[in-house]
């Protein structure tokens, strides 16, 4: 009976509103944060940063953004790749136009630019619903990719058509460019990721979150009880765009260092992030992390087992990896249709009762 809630009483409503109502959960959470901020940067190497942790954190931010829109507000979007591209190109333009301003501000600025673009592409949601909207957001995806490819202004007219992030430092520590240390890369992503999760959690537990969820669960009833669908949906698009834009900016500037829109922000990205939130759990911030971890870490683990331990040919492992990831997705859905987050909740509930299940 290590994990339980008996005796954990709340004496005020704001205590009752906590993200982690159980003391044990809170301790685990703060411990994780402490390890993530204080221990990991000391031991991280290039491989762990570039291959696993940084992409995981960046995808988690994108997943938070999409989850706000899809998981909380019920508007399925397949434009995430395009919106990440907006973040990336906005960040690039800001970085090169204002080299003296801090890169951190550029990343946030990229978030705001994406917010605006995403809101504009959110306008059709007032008329179009469900899968129709999902497919409609593909229009944004394809159009944005085409635009960034077509108009040379976006890539500063350079001959290659690629954008590459020049070196930018904060307190003398490079955060972008080839000389970025693994820990710096990791810390900046971690900071943005934790901040995003914090903001997203606050928004979704407050009145705005309830507006979104009301629209998601039953839009007509929501409107009749006083939720303005216009502002609710557009605010979801806006905030979703903000986070997705930040993730796109980080993806380009900190992680990849160079990007081409079609290759880095193609339709695959849109699907990938959507898969993350569905596998992780719609309408759950924890699910964003679980889903991102599943789709970033699992392939690496499978490759590690197949290639490095079993010594199989890499292409064979790559094929098997698809089979296994696909199989696992179906298996999880059959076992727990509401994603890893729900699986986790069910496990915790069982754990609370353990060892006396009845």
């Amino acid at each position: 009976m290590l994990y339980r809630e008996a005796g954990d009483f709340k004496t005020s409503y704001s205590l009752d509103n906590q993200t982690f109502p159980l003391k044990l959960d809170r301790i685990v959470f703060y411990l994780t944060l402490a390890v993530a901020f204080l221990v990991v940067p000391l031991v991280i190497n290039d491989y762990w940063a570039s291959a696993i942790l940084v992409p995981f954190l960046i995808y988690a931010i994108a997943a938070i953004g999409l989850n706000i829109l899809t998981g909380y507000c019920g508007q399925v979007s397949l434009g995430t790749g395009g919106f990440m591209a907006v973040g990336a190109y906005a960040c690039y333009k800001l970085m090169t136009a204002f080299p003296d301003v801090s890169i951190l501000l550029h990343i946030v600025g990229a978030g705001f630019v994406t917010m605006v673009v995403c809101t504009v592409f959110g306008l059709p949601s007032l008329r179009i619903k469900g899968f129709y909207l999902a497919v409609a957001t593909l229009a944004a995806q394809f159009f944005l990719v085409w635009l960034f490819n077509k108009v040379p202004w976006f890539y500063n007219n350079n001959a290659s058509g690629q954008i590459s992030a020049p070196e930018r430092t904060v307190f003398g520590v490079p955060l972008t460019g080839p000389n970025t240390e693994a820990w710096a890369m990791y810390l900046v992503c971690l900071t943005f990721c934790v901040a995003s999760a914090f903001i997203a959690r606050n928004l979704t537990r407050g009145s705005l979150g309830r507006r979104w969820m009301a629209i998601r669960d039953m839009d007509i009833a929501a409107e009749i009880i006083g939720v303005n669908p216009l502002t609710a949906k557009l605010s979801a698009f806006a905030l979703s765009g903000f986070f997705v834009g930040i993730s796109g900016a980080l993806f380009f500037s900190v992680y990849l260092g160079a990007a081409e829109v079609g290759e880095s922000f193609g339709i695959d990205k849109s699907f990938l992030v959507l898969f993350m939130i569905i596998i992780g759990g719609l309408g759950s911030i924890f699910g964003c992390f679980a889903g991102a971890a599943f789709l970033v870490v699992l392939p690496v683990v499978l490759k590690f087992i197949g290639v490095d331990i079993l010594g199989w040919a890499p292409d064979l492992v790559a094929h098997l990896r698809l089979v296994i990831v696909g199989g696992l997705i179906m298996f999880f859905l059959i076992k727990e249709p509401h994603g890893l987050a729900q699986l986790w909740r069910v496990m915790k509930e069982k754990l609370r009762l353990w060892p006396f299940p009845h």
């Binding site: 001959a159 990007a259 087992i305 790559a318």
Partner: protein, 428 residues
């Protein structure tokens, strides 16, 4: 809990991976899956088979065995980064990313890590300027050379005069596809031909409108900068509109067997540029068959030997092997480091005598690399597809590009990169 043990295992493995064994580590960032697998497989087979041959026949290079570390990228930039990070700790000598996207990412990273990158006929063209890109090489030729070589070839065809001719460029609507445009535009001005640009969006499965337009405007020549499914569809569509195939010229990534075979007899006469000669009778190929394939050490299923991209992969491996030998010679050490490898690449000299000695006489041009010129001679061969025999035949010898056109472009592009990234141009 199983996952946990596995992850712990992974942690351990990546921590202990650093001390490299005493051999020459050559990563192969291959893609045998995904949209471009058909191109990735033969290249990777050729690249690996050549090193396997060196191991089997000569016991490696300079007595040092070669270890290939294959890593599957699927042509995906993030997986490419993962592959780079997971292999660089093993003492990787040179990277051959075989993808424009991955190349762009790796150039600055490898520069910072001090590991050479060799992008043979792809990637960032400006790396020809070795004073700005100390660690990146793109010999023997780049896209701008390719565009210029093709125009030179067409000039020869037309008795030196392209005035009033109309040339259409069908290109993959990406950074890669747009590479030749500045060169061609500049050549159009100096040579007096008109240039039509026809973009094809990724993946290029659907090209009806582009080819209907070509049918309407009937350009004298159609050039193609394509990759993947775009090539097969374009060649089929050209055959469909009965465009004269001998006036349809692809670049060297649009001129492999799998690009033309789906169109069957319709593809007969299609031309493409190549950076190597293609022949199935290079003696080295027999060695590979007997000493590698028959021993069961083939990298793939062994079916690609002698194909265009196989030979290109093998050629890339040969250039790497020669660079290693050069580095060993310069530094007097057999177990070289990436930094020594760079010196070897920069001092590389390929002569016909050496190529003949290696059993691949005339496979490439004679050239030497220097600090100022990481790009080699910029020459190419025009080849033509014969559908009945299913072979590519070289039509020309190695043709020159017009350096008076391409060099200023290289200088401008590398300067722009240097300015943007605060690089001071200098030799190491």
């Amino acid at each position: 809990m199983k996952l946990h043990t596995l992850l712990t295992g992974a942690v351990m493995a990546s921590l202990v991976a650093a001390p490299a064994a005493a051999d020459l580590v050559l990563p192969d960032l291959s893609y045998r899956t995904g949209p471009y697998a058909a191109g990735g497989i033969p290249f990777s087979d050729g690249y690996q088979d050549y090193f396997s041959l060196l191991n089997a026949r000569d016991g490696g290079i300079g007595g040092e065995p070669v270890r290939i570390v294959e890593c599957e990228t699927g042509y995906n930039t993030e997986k490419g980064v993962e592959c780079y990070e997971s292999t660089k700790g093993e003492g990787a000598l040179v990277y051959q990313p075989l993808s424009t996207g991955i190349t762009y990412q790796l150039i600055p990273k490898a520069e910072a890590d001090g590991i050479p990158i060799h992008t043979m006929g792809y990637g960032r063209t400006a790396v020809k300027n070795g004073e700005v890109f100390n660690w990146a090489f793109n010999f023997p030729a780049n896209y701008w050379d390719a565009a210029s070589v093709i125009v030179n070839y067409l000039k020869d065809e037309n008795d030196g005069d392209l005035n009033g001719k109309n040339i259409a460029l069908v290109y993959h609507n990406s950074a890669y596809g747009k590479e030749p445009i500045p060169t061609l535009e500049s050549l159009a001005e100096s040579e007096g031909f008109t240039l039509d640009l026809l973009a094809v969006d990724h993946p290029g499965q659907e090209q009806t409108s582009q080819w209907l337009q070509i049918r309407r405007s009937r350009p004298d020549y159609v050039l193609m900068w394509g990759w993947g499914v775009m090539n097969q569809v374009a060649i089929q569509e050209a055959a469909n509109i009965r465009y004269p195939m001998e006036n349809f010229i692809g670049n060297w990534w649009a001129g492999a067997e799998h690009d033309v075979t789906p169109a069957g007899a319709g593809a007969n006469g299609y031309k493409s540029l190549n950076m190597t000669k293609v022949a199935s009778d290079f003696p080295v190929l027999d060695d590979i068959k007997t000493m590698v394939h028959d021993e069961g050490n083939a990298a793939g299923d062994g079916s690609n030997v002698g194909s265009v991209l196989y030979i290109r992969g093998m050629y890339a491996a040969m250039l790497a092997a020669e660079s290693i030998a050069k580095a060993q010679e310069i530094h007097g050490e057999s177990d070289i480091t990436p930094a020594m490898m760079r010196d070897g690449m920069e001092a590389l000299e390929i002569t016909e005598a050496r190529m003949a000695e290696l059993g691949m006489s005339g496979i490439g041009p004679e050239f030497s690399v220097s600090c100022e010129n990481h790009g080699g001679p910029g020459m190419g061969v025009m080849q033509q597809w014969d559908a009945s025999s299913g072979t590519w035949t070289s039509l020309t010898g190695f043709m020159d590009s017009d350096t008076s056109v391409t060099d200023p472009l290289v200088v401008a592009a590398s300067k722009a990169y240097a300015d943007e990234n605060g690089v001071t141009a200098a030799c190491l």
